[in-house]
Amino acid sequence: MPHDRDENHVHNLLPAEPALRVKALETILLEKGLLDQQAVDAIIDEYEKRIGPQIGAKIVARAWSDPAFKSMLIADSETVLREAGLAGRQGEHVVVVENTNKVHNLVVCTLCSCYPWPLLGVPPAWYKSDAYRSRAVSEPRKILSEFGVDIPKSQSVRVWDSTAEIRYLVLPLQPKDSIGLPVPELAKWVTRNSMIGTGLPLRPVGD
C-alpha cells in the first residue's frame, strides 16, 4: 500500500469534517497570499452556471443535422472542438464515438472519474461512484438496465475506459421523430446521459 505510514500525509491533521477541512485550508492559503478568492468564486460560477451538458447537446444536434459536420467531428473531434472554443480543461483531447444499429457506446473512468468537462460540465454523483467505476466494464448491460436502457442482442456494447487524457463523448442515434427539426430544437432531445451512453435521447417534456 503506497505511503501508508510515511510523512507525506498530513491531511488528517486538519479537521475531519470536510466543510471545516476546506475552510481551514482556504484560510491558510489566503493568509499566505496563495489564493485569490475572487478567482475561486469565478471558477465555481463557470461550472455552476455556464458549463454543462447543453454545450455537448448543441454539438450532437449539429452533427445530426449536418452530415459534413458529423464526418469532420468523427474524423477529428479535437480540431473541430478546439476551433469551436470547446477544448478547455479536461476536454483537451476529445474523441466522439458514434452509436449505430450495431454498436452502443458507454463511457467510464475506472481509475478515477475522468469526464469531458467542457462539453458536459461537472460529473454526476453516480458517474463518480465506486459502483459505476467498478461495474461498467464488467457488466455494462446490467448497468444500462439500471438506467432503464435495454440494448438488444443485435447491438454490441462497447465500453470506453478513459485511462488517459482522451475524453470520450457518445454521439447517440437520432430518434426518428426528431428528424428535420432545427438545431436548437434538436438539442433539447439530447440528454446528458445519452452522451455518456447510460441513456438515449428523449422527446423534450411538453413537446
Binding site: 500500500m1 470536510p18 485550508l25 499566505k32 496563495l34 471558477i43 465555481i44 459505476y132 464488467s138
Partner: protein, 225 residues
C-alpha cells in the same frame, strides 16, 4: 493486492441514477474544493498526473471512506505540504505562519485569468517517435507493477486488462507518460493507443458475447501478442 482506486471489474452495488432536479454540487463545500483545487493547480507546481497520484496514494482506509471531493481536498493538502507551500505547523493550527515567497505569490491565479486557464486546459499531446504498433495489431497488456517508475508509483494500466490480449483500434498520437510525470520525473512522451478487449476474454464469461471494452494504453504498457 491491487490499489483501491483500481476498481474495474470489482463486484459492487446497483447504480442510483440522479434525478433531473439534483443539484450540480450536493454540498456547498464541494464547490469550494473544486474552485480551490483548480485555482491552486493553475500555479503550475504540479500536473494532473501528480494530482491523481496524490488522491490514489491516500491511505486505503481514507480512499475507501472519502467521497470524491474529500479525496480531492486531502490530495491537495498533501501536495501543498510535499511541495513546501504549507508547513505542518500551519496545518495543525489552521492558520498561515507567514506570507509565501513573492515568486509563488506572482503565480497565483487572478480573476482576470480564470477564463483563459479554463479554456486553455493542459493538453498532453507532444511531438515524438512514430508508433511501434499498428492498427489491427494484437497486443498484450503488461502487469501494472511492471510499468511503475518508482515503488508503489503511479500507472494508468488497470489490473483487469493485465495479461490479456486485445487489438489496437486507434492511435491517439504521442502523449505525456503519467508513470514518470506523476513523480516529477519528466514527461517522457509515448505513443498512446486505444486497445479493444473482448468482454469474453476479460471476464471469462459469455463466450458468444460481442461486447468489448476499449482501454487507452501507452506503448510501454503493451507487448506484441
Amino acid at each position: 493486492m491491487k490499489p483501491p482506486h483500481d476498481m474495474g471489474g470489482n463486484p459492487s452495488h446497483p447504480i442510483i441514477p440522479d434525478k433531473p432536479d439534483d443539484k450540480k454540487f450536493e454540498e456547498a463545500w464541494h464547490r469550494r474544493v473544486l474552485g480551490i483545487t483548480i485555482a491552486v493547480g493553475a500555479m503550475g507546481a504540479w500536473s494532473i498526473d501528480a494530482s491523481r497520484y496524490a488522491r490514489e496514494s491516500l491511505p486505503r482506509s481514507d480512499y475507501t471512506k472519502f467521497s470524491y471531493y474529500e479525496k480531492w481536498l486531502s490530495g491537495l493538502i498533501n501536495l501543498l505540504f510535499q511541495k513546501g507551500f504549507i508547513n505542518k505547523n500551519e496545518i495543525q493550527s489552521g492558520s498561515g505562519d507567514s506570507i509565501a515567497p513573492l515568486e509563488w505569490r506572482n503565480r497565483v491565479l487572478s480573476l482576470k485569468n480564470v477564463g483563459a486557464v479554463l479554456s486553455a486546459g493542459a493538453p498532453t499531446r507532444r511531438d515524438g517517435p512514430k508508433p511501434i504498433f499498428s492498427i489491427g495489431q494484437k497486443v498484450c497488456a503488461k502487469l501494472p507493477l511492471d510499468t511503475l517508475s518508482i515503488k508503489n508509483g503511479h500507472t494508468r494500466l488497470p489490473h483487469y486488462i493485465s495479461g490479456k490480449a486485445g487489438t489496437i483500434i486507434k492511435s491517439h498520437g504521442v502523449h505525456v507518460l503519467p508513470n514518470t510525470n506523476a513523480h516529477f520525473l519528466g514527461e517522457h512522451p509515448e505513443n498512446l493507443y486505444a486497445v479493444e478487449f473482448k468482454a469474453s476474454v476479460l471476464w471469462e464469461q459469455n463466450p458468444s458475447s460481442s461486447d468489448t471494452v476499449v482501454v487507452d494504453c501507452w506503448e510501454s504498457y503493451l507487448e506484441a501478442a
